[in-house]
């Protein structure tokens, strides 16, 4: 069972084994085993929290502790794309 992780902008450069000219964006289906929250996904790819800003789970603006499950779609944007959205929404969080 998998989660769709979409990685945008400069964060694509963090993931090894892909040519970023072809990864527009980088779409990865990851095993949901052992993945409970967005923070776990970041961990898996060795992405620091500070390198990200906008995080979406199924289109909902989310925080690091937002829970994720099979079939979810997760969008990760780098810090340098932190424009606009944050003024209008509060992060959805679990815990």
């Amino acid at each position: 069972m998998t989660i769709l992780v979409k990685i945008f902008g400069d964060l694509r450069k963090k993931i090894e084994g892909y040519n970023i000219s072809d990864a527009l964006p980088l779409n990865l289906q990851i095993e949901s085993n052992g993945i409970d929250t967005i923070a776990d996904i970041l961990n898996k790819f060795s992405i620091e929290k500070e390198e990200t800003y906008h995080l979406f789970v199924n289109g909902t603006y989310s925080g690091y502790n937002k829970k994720v499950k099979d079939g979810d779609r997760v969008g990760l944007f780098p810090k340098n794309m932190s424009l606009l959205y944050k003024w209008y929404f509060e992060r959805n969080e679990d815990e």
Partner: protein, 578 residues
Amino acid sequence: MAKRILRVDMTKLEANFENFPADFAALGGRALTSTIVAKEVDPLCHPLGASNKLVFAPGLVTGTKAPTSGRISVGGKSPLTGGIKEANAGTTFAQKLGRMRIAAIVVEGKHEEDDYYLLKVTNDGTEFIKANKWSNKGLYDVYKELYKEFGDKVSISGVGIAAEIRGAASGICFNDPEGLPSRYAGRGGLGAVMASKGLKFIVVDETGAPGVEILNEEAFNMGVKKLTNALTSHDVTKPGGALNSYGTCVLVNIINEAGGLPQRNFSSGQDDRSEKVSGEVKAEEIKKRGGVRPHFCSPGCVIQCSEVWTKPGGKDPVGVLEFESVWALGPNCSIYDLDVIGELNRTCNDLGLDTIEAGDLLGVAMEGGLLEFGDGKGALKMLNEIKNKTPTGRILANGTAFTAQAFGVTRVPVVKGQGLPAYDPRAIKGIGVTYATTPQGADHTAGYAIATEIMGVGGTADPKDTNKSDLSRNLQLATAAIDAAGYCLFIAFAILDIPEGLEGVVDTLNGVLGASLTVNDVAGYGQQIIDTERAFNKAAGFTEKDDRLPEFFLKEPLPPHNEVFNVSDEELDKVWGT
């Protein structure tokens, strides 16, 4: 030399410099255009008649070395909304006016014959030149000819065929640094106002210009330093930041991921084909085909969000493909091909057509059965109807609401007659409040900027709450003030997070004006502008019923979130306390 106003009487074909009134000293950009329009234009006049006026005003710091400040406001009564209008562009034209100490060009009256004129403005004089030979032609060719004739140091404002047929979707065009007709004060049909007066072009030559007067150099320089530091250190605006790397199209993936990027005439908020027209894709393509990126719309911008998009092989340069344009001519029409969008954008620029309005009107034309959604070739053909001045073309050139009415479409994405930009208000409700309540008609730039906390105006709105009135009001006030100063709205991303940045803005204003404003004065300054604009609209017949979104946003849930716009009328009316 003191600041001055250039008054252009198109009835008599006379242009004269006047003294800049002392009580206007603190006014520039939008503050000045709206003040002059409110003072001199009868709100009940016909927008295309002799009584309307068209006002060009650079911002207060425009033309100085203040970073990212090369903006101009154009104002008048809008033939699209029937209310007051300010449209904004970044261009060397603005900077030249600033350095020539021309605070405003006021175009009035109406030439009685069918002739078109070009007005040449130099530091010490003006000249009217017959421009008929440059009418009925695409602006890309015409701008080339004009640069040949007047030399490559001039800046040019002009209107195209869409304005010649008095289309309410026509914009006012300015040159980019390459001389391409690609920087637009697009919104609200002001192109038709200019053409209605018989004025086709303004060519500005700044030779001998004295430069912007700066009364307090020390304050000014300190402000430049603070703002530059903020812009070059903030992740979004710094070199290599999102705007610099990907342009405004960085928003395509963000807004699509959020489920708020309108598709197929506002019938869905997400379609992953949008990823094919994202900022990331465009940046890759530009590298491959030999366009330019990053690039600025006017020298002195440190953000440099602009670009030159071309056909493969570097042919047929278009200029910038902005986020709003790419969305309007792309996903909103179910078109997901950057080459097609580039060609549609080039055609809009060539015709002098506002790209946002063009995408919205093509969306309703598609819904009305004039052509299929996704039909890029068909869309180009439709724009050609405008070029050929056919009856269909004349309907289309009058905008989204007019087209919808002509073809029996009821999903009409307009507020006060003006087509909506690229954020669906059902998914991003805060922007919906601004669309509804700005005096400008649906306009994303009216409330793009600045968080409430740093404004010193209180009222931190909880963004999840449908109580959005405080947030929207404060955003609108700040934006109005930025427009008046002449800064590009994109500085907002940096000065939102870095307080010294906003201080820097205020310092530069103090430097130019010899004033002692503080950050706490910004909101009051913005409020004056909005009050002036709302009073004009009220006298033109607008009521709170005009501060509403179209019915379908309240009734039709938008996938994927399946939400409607649920902000109450009372909440909307609270924005301006009516």
